[in-house]
Structures are given as C-alpha cells and as structure tokens.
Symmetry: C2
Subunit: 344 residues, 2 copies
C-alpha cells in the first residue's frame, strides 16, 4: 500500500483526509481525543473497521497529553466521547469495549506511563491485526470470484475503510492477485461519493481495472448481463445475519436477487453484533441533509427544499449469499454460524 | 405555470436553459435548426415530450430563415438533423414524422410563405396539444393516488419535460389539486440531477411538498414503509409495454415489485412505439463518461478512471402496474391495449 489510512507520528495521530481525496492527498494531524472524535464525525476517516482502529488510536493520543493524575478520568471521558461519534458501525463500540477492558484493568495497578504505553500498544496491535484480518478475508473470498469476473461494489470497503487492504476490496485485491478479476464496477455512492472518490482512487493506485457507475446503474447492468457478482462491506451485522451498510446496498441486494447473482458481504467478525438480534434494532445514522443538497461544494437543489439522509440501510439476511470473514466463508443460516464463530 | 419550457418569440425559439437551473433562470435564444439540434443534444431541453415539441419548433425556426427556393431542401435537412440528436425518446421521431407528413405534403402545392406558416402552426398545435394531453394524463392518474400519498418519482417528468404540466408530475399536480398528496419524494437522478435541480424546482414553485433523496435511497425507504407508490415518465414504450426511461428507473421498479407497491408509468401515447416489439430493441443512448466524472465543473473521480453512462434503462412490462395515458389508464396485458389505443 502506498498510503496509510491512519498512522502514529511523533506529534500525534495522522489521518489521510478522505474528504479531499482524490483531488488532494493530505494528512491531518490530530493531537487530542476531541480532535479525533470530530474527525470521525466529519468523515475525515470512515469505514467501520477504520473508525474502530482510529478510536483506539484516539484514546492513546488523548492519554499522552493529560497529566498523570487525570489519566483515569481521561480514559473514561475519551472513550465516552468517541463512542458517541457515529452510531451504526459496531466496530467502534467493539474497539472501545476492548480499550476499556484492557486499559481500564490497569487502573490502580499501573503507573500513568505504563497505562499510556499499554494504550498505545493496544492501538498498534488493533491496527496490525486489522490488516491481517483483511488479508484473511480477501483470501477467503477470492475463490468465490469467478474467472474474468466483473465485480460490482458499493461505497468504499477498501484500504481506506480499514487499517489497510480492505474487506470487500480485500476480496478484490486477492482475486486480482489470483488472476480472476476482469474489472471492478464501482458505484459512486452519493452523497459522499466514496465510490467515485475513494474506491476508484485506491484501485487505480493498485493498477486494478475499475470503471465508475452511478448508484442508479447497477440493476440495469445486471439485467444486461454485465455483472457477475456483488461484494460489499458492512457497518454492522446483526445476530441473524441482517446487514447494515452504506445507503444503496439494499437496492443492489434486491437487484442481485432478482437476477440470481451472488451477493457477498465481506467483514471482520468485529462487525458482527450478537447483542443486536436483527436489522430492525440497528440504529441508522441520519446525517445532515446539507450533504445531499450539495455536491462537491456546489448546491444542486433549490433553496428551501429539504432532503433525507439516512447514511445506511439494512439488507435482510435472506438476500445475502454468504458472509466472508477472517474465519472463512459463512453460509446461511447465519444465526448459529455467527454465534459459534463469535463464541470461539 | 410561471415559466415556459419553450416558447416562440419574434426572434426565434427560446428555451429555458435546464442545464443551469435552479441556480439561474435563463432563456436561450435559438435562431437556426442547427442551434436547436445542438440544444437538444446538450440537454438545454430534455424530456421525451419536450424534445418532440422543441424539434417541431426547430423546423419552423429553420424554415423561417432560409431563402424561398431552399425551403424544400431545408425541410428534409433539418428534419434529418433533428432526428439524429437523441436516439431513445421516440416522441422526437413521432413529432418529426408528423412534420414531414403534414408539411412535406405542401411541397410543390404551396408557396414558401404558406409552408412557413404551416410549420409554425403545426409546432404551436403540438405545443398546445401536449399541455392538454398532460392534463388528461394527470387527471386520469390522480384517482390511482391514495390518500396522504408519499409518491416517489425519478428524474423529471414534469412541466420541464413537456410543453407544460408534466406526465408523472401531471399526476402529481392533479393529485395535489385533489387533496390526496402528502409529499413527493424526488430522487436526485445522477448524473444530470434532473430530480434535484428540476423536479424539486418546479414542484417547490407550485407549492407542492417535495423532499429530495439520493437515487440509492428508494428501496430502503420502501422497506421502511415510507413510500406508497412510484410514478415515473417514459422515453419510449415498446409494443409489449416494456418501458425505456431514465437510468435508475428499473432499480426502482424492482424495489417496488419486491415491496408490492404500485409502479406507474405516465406517458402520452406518442411515447408508445408499436414498431419496437420489446425493450430489447429500444436503442439506449450512451452519453459521455465526462458527465459522470464531473459535477458543475468539479471532477469527482481520479484522473484516468473511466465511467459508464447509459442514459436510460428498460423496465420490463411485468414490473409496470399500469400505464397512465391521455386516453385513460392502461392495464396489463399491454400489447393488445396499446395497439388498440394507437390504432384509434
């Protein structure tokens, strides 16, 4: 990978600013937990695994700057703040639960310096593990990709949505390496244009053939026989296998089902939330309508007109052909299989 | 209506420039057939009925400017030029066939002045008839709209896509007048943003409640019970009832079918093409990928990445609940009913 989605530097945490890609490649330096929280809210970084890792790094950054006798309070406060940035992706809560459990356990037992080092080490571990997990997802998914595949993906479930390599784009990278990928069809993903700006950018960087389509084209391309499979990421997978992912995913799942095309979800097990029984209980983030009413800084709708902006939708488990995880490919029925894998 | 989609003036033909709405409300003066042809290609005016009427007006404008002894050649030439501007909407060919038949019949029998007056009168008749037809479509469709309806539409099948009143938005206007419309959900319609820029603009002008959504939201809104029906226009309806319409229409039809919601197509009978047996034979215009890759002059994708741009898709007749025409609501099976109505 010729870029870092997030990285520690001597000064703090640097995030590749995903709001200005592909026009500019800029790293934003964040020196406090609050700055990291705002960066997640503002989508400097996005993607379920990426915001989980970023949150853990944000905790380390915050603990670095507070006084020794404030470190216990700071840990509680920064975890709480980061947890409330975005509601849908469960990896965020998963990573912060881990931080609270492992670092919280040191309270009263370890000195401030030791706590700081432990928080940093945990964040670095999560970062490294996330890349390994993505590689495992990619390698597990690659055999599902047919020869000369035209693979449709939505949003960006790539290196930019993880610590590196990607989930859906991890499958793409492994399939490309294995010589079975003809091209990726990337849907542009309004309103934030993750497909046009991020997926196209990172695949072009890796010399993987990518063609951009609007979100409205997928179904029609399927009807014309121009799509072989769909692979997307996930922000949360409920216990029954229902999948919350970027708005527009459900429409593609319906279309794939109507055309009897495989629809795969690629995600780490940290995205599976056994405490959420079904998609009906997944909180769907409602973002500012302004993000729909403007495009690339240009207002596209008349003044006074409002817009809806649910950032995610739910695809019911029955439309999902299989879930590709680091522990292998999970087939339906998902309930028992996910419970077993998460318990393991 | 507080605006004209197209109008004759002393100098020529004026078109409301739909490329710059809603930011600016500008009329473009066109003084030759070639200028009118380019305006259709460049989407200064778009929408199947509107480009049919505009083409007839373009013929009149061209005949006005040529010398008396060139008028016969000019008629052939300008009809040919206008016919080749955009391939999918059949109303264009329908209007030009009518011009060639009615005005062509005067060749050798009438003087240049009489031919010019006849061409102008025919264009004015088509303009006036189109508005009447749209009102009839609207009134025929209104009873299909349930109480407090949340009506989803795609692209712009409105006053801006016709000589006035609209087809799908004709149904909206009549239902609003009849007090049965809660709100219109307008999908933005990438890449040209007819929904965001045009539908939102003309409905807001008429004080009809409109909320903008991205093209990717329709299916999810249906799943959440927030849509009661879908009404769209058409660019060409094949003899079997297959419907070509703006790219994205088919995905909404699939989603409506999956949620057992009515999916209506509102179009004048001039949109029905009995010479095209099914949707498979409808030519689908492929427009420049640049229109997907940039927005308002801002490039949204990395350099070197290509995009697909089929401007239309085909919705098979079995997904269409009914076709709303000026002659009433046509129920399936469409083949016999459309043949009967077109024969009449």
């Amino acid at each position: 990978m010729s870029f870092d989605t997030m990285r520690f530097t001597e000064k703090g945490l640097e995030l590749l600013d995903q709001r200005v890609l592909p026009a500019r490649e800029e790293y934003l330096l964040l020196e406090t937990g609050e700055e990291v929280a705002r960066a997640i809210e503002d989508m400097v970084v996005r993607g379920a695994p990426a915001i989980g890792v970023t949150a853990a790094m944000g905790v380390a950054v915050e603990l670095e700057r507070v006084a020794d006798d404030e470190i216990d309070d700071a840990l509680v406060r920064v975890c709480e703040r980061l947890r409330n940035t975005r509601p849908t992706a469960v990896n965020l809560a998963w990573a912060l639960d881990l931080v609270e459990r492992e670092i919280g356990a040191l309270r009263g037992k370890a000195g401030a310096g030791e706590i700081r080092r432990a928080a940093r080490a945990l964040a670095e571990r999560l970062h490294a593990e996330d890349i390994e997990i993505c590689r495992a997802i990619g390698d597990a998914g690659s055999p599902l990709v047919p020869e000369s595949a035209r693979l449709l993906t939505h949003c960006n479930a790539g290196a930019l949505a993880t610590a590196g390599y990607g989930t859906a784009l991890g499958v793409v990278r492994s399939a490309a390496r294995d010589g079975r990928l003809l091209r990726v069809l990337a849907s542009e993903t309004r309103p934030f244009l993750q497909g046009a700006r991020l997926t196209a950018w990172e695949l072009a960087r890796d010399d993987i053939p990518v063609v951009l389509v609007t979100d409205s084209m997928g179904a029609s391309l399927m009807r014309r026989g121009e799509v072989d499979l769909v692979v997307v990421g996930a922000d949360r997978i409920a216990a029954n296998g229902d999948v919350a992912n970027k708005i527009g995913t459900y429409a593609l799942a319906l279309a794939a089902h109507a055309h009897e095309l495989p629809f795969y979800v690629a995600a780490p097990l940290s995205t599976v939330d056994l405490d959420t029984p079904s998609g009906d209980e997944i909180p769907i983030e409602q973002r500012a309508s302004e993000e729909v009413l403007t495009l690339a800084g240009v207002r596209i709708a008349p003044e006074g007109v409002d817009a809806l902006h649910p950032a995610f939708d739910v695809t019911p488990a029955e439309l999902v052909t299989a879930i590709i995880t680091e522990a292998g490919v999970v087939q339906p029925p998902y309930g028992p299989a996910l419970a077993r894998l998460k318990g393991a």
